[in-house]
């Protein structure tokens, strides 16, 4: 290592946060219990917030602090609380998903990480921002959450996967660029919140109709 020039500490911290976010995405992928999933989601939100604060500090972009506040409010406080209340009202707090094959899922997950890192490498060379490395991680966690949605058979974990996907996108937004314009970020946050409410309404409708939150009951509509 002849030309070793260490990056500033804040940047190291940012890389660490991004890695942790990826780790949590993996943990969510393999987590069977709904309650723990929600906690993991909240942790992911918190780490996302920290990473946004860090990049705001690193790049001197004051509007990123607002983004961080918005993330803290929605992803760490409101959404987990809503989910908590929801699973308590639906009485699925101790629900366990038994059907996932963890080793295979993990292997596919690693494949996805390799894929997205490869995809992101050429792009990050173009970046003028110093936050570029994390783009691949963001893409990887997006894909991992996407996979979580595919592998799950129950409604609530699917939705948590959806929300985690949004987290990955936010990481991408703050890492590739210095955050989206504020109008857009507000709009996205609003959409997510409204979406969550609709999901909540849906859970009750589904349970009322099928007596369970298992998606397997909802595989009737198929082309035969």
């Amino acid at each position: 290592m002849s030309h070793w020039n260490p990056a500033p500490f804040a940047q190291q911290l940012l890389d660490l946060f991004a890695s942790l976010l990826l780790l949590i995405a993996f943990a969510m992928l393999s987590q069977r219990r709904i309650l723990t999933l929600i906690h993991l989601f909240a942790w992911q939100g918190l780490i996302l917030t920290l990473s946004i604060v860090d990049s705001a500090w690193l790049t001197h972009q004051p509007h990123l602090y607002y983004s961080a506040g918005l993330t803290l409010l929605t992803k760490v406080l409101i959404l987990p609380l809503l989910l908590h209340r929801l699973i308590r009202r639906l009485d699925v707090v101790w629900d366990v998903e038994t059907l996932i094959n963890i080793p295979t899922t993990m292997l596919v997950g690693i494949g996805l990480v390799i894929f997205s890192f490869n995809l992101a490498l050429p792009i990050s060379h173009f970046s003028s921002t110093i936050l570029r490395n994390t783009l691949g991680i963001a893409l990887a966690s997006v894909l991992l959450s996407f996979m979580m949605m595919i592998t799950r058979r129950k409604a609530v974990p699917q939705v948590i996967g959806f929300l985690a996907l949004e987290n990955g996108l936010f990481l991408a937004a703050t890492s590739a660029t210095y955050g989206m314009p504020m109008v857009v970020e507000l709009g996205v946050a609003l959409d997510v919140l409204v979406g969550m409410f609709i999901f909540g309404i849906f859970f009750f409708q589904i349970r009322e109709t099928f007596d369970s939150l298992d998606i397997r009951h909802m595989e009737k509509l198929k082309e035969e």
Partner: protein, 315 residues
């Protein structure tokens, strides 16, 4: 290489071999404290070894020479491995002779003999233990190798000495990949040394035991050597962990004071981490054997993530 170097090398070897039972005793004391038991003396492992060495060796009638050779071979492997890891001084004659892949090979050589010998007599427990041991190590070894590869690619070398000095040369830096590799290493350490989420060193319950099932056939000095070798193995993993993840304090000087300082630091690390191991074992529950692949799969995943992150982030 001066004679002083060889002297130091021999000193480390003796230090490692003598220290290993003490580490076992220290972990045992902490476990007892944490479980609200009266702790045995710190010297208890020595006494046990002493007692075993004075007992007669009883061998099964069907035992082949393999069973007789294995304890010595095991102890020899561990002793050699212990001399290869920089515990206090990085600049030892043998340190440059070997890299981490060979290290893994040495450890697995010992394991293969242990497992073969366990099946030698033909009792059910022996082969059961051997099979379980092979299952665990079959999954743990790739994870361990991945951890090594991560650190090797960080330092562009698989030599343990360059890995250690490479980190020392760069000063403080947050490596996300290193954090992942560290956790993976810890998980492998627990699995390979028969520690709690995977195996319980204190149990002889046939449903769960792994390591203990393999050594049921040994007695007397053979058993003593095997116990000593497993103590040595724990020490090896600990010092390997220190060398890779907490390399501060290792010295390359030949001066008395430098070596003394490094030695004290090494003992301090052992003290803290030994207690940490006991805490970790107390707070976690032993897993069913069928969950072990999942556990080690996680370790492997973390190690692979570490290496991938290294390539993405360059750190």
């Amino acid at each position: 290489m001066t004679p002083v170097n060889w002297l130091l090398q021999g000193g480390q070897e003796i230090l490692g071999i003598l220290l290993a039972p003490l580490l076992m005793g220290w972990v045992g004391i902490w476990r007892a404290w944490l479980q609200n038991r009266r702790a045995p003396s710190l010297m208890q492992p020595y006494r046990q070894l002493f007692k075993l060495f004075h007992k007669e060796v009883v061998l099964a009638e069907t035992a082949s020479p393999l069973l007789r050779v294995t304890p010595y071979l095991l102890f020899g492997c561990m002793g050699l491995t212990a001399s290869l890891i920089p515990m206090v001084i990085t600049d030892l004659p043998l340190a440059g002779a070997v890299d981490v892949i060979a290290l893994v090979g040495l450890l697995s050589l010992a394991r293969v003999f242990l497992a073969l010998a366990a099946m030698d007599v033909g009792t059910a427990f022996g082969s059961l233990g051997a099979r379980r041991e092979m299952l665990v190590s079959f999954l743990a070894e790739p994870a361990l190798l991945m951890v090594f590869f991560t650190i090797a690619s960080l330092n562009a070398s698989t030599s343990l000495r360059f890995m250690v000095t490479g980190f020392a040369a760069r000063g403080f830096y947050l490596y996300p990949s290193l954090a992942f590799a560290g956790v993976a290493f810890l998980m492998v350490l627990l699995a390979e040394n028969g520690r709690i989420p995977v195996d319980n060193p204190e149990t002889h319950l046939e449903l769960t035991m792994i390591h203990e099932a393999m050594i049921l056939e040994y007695s007397g000095r053979h058993l003593a050597l095997i116990e000593w070798a497993s103590a040595l193995k724990l020490l090896i993993y600990f010092s390997l962990g220190f060398a890779l993840f907490l390399p501060f304090g290792l010295t390359d000087s030949q001066q008395g004071w430098g070596i003394l300082g490094a030695l004290i630091l090494f003992l301090l690390k052992l003290t803290v981490m030994g207690a940490g191991l006991a805490v970790l074992e107390t707070v976690s529950a032993k897993q069913r054997l069928f969950r072990v692949p999942e556990y080690l799969g996680t370790a492997f995943l973390l190690a692979v993530l570490a290496i991938l992150l290294h390539y993405l982030l360059g750190s």
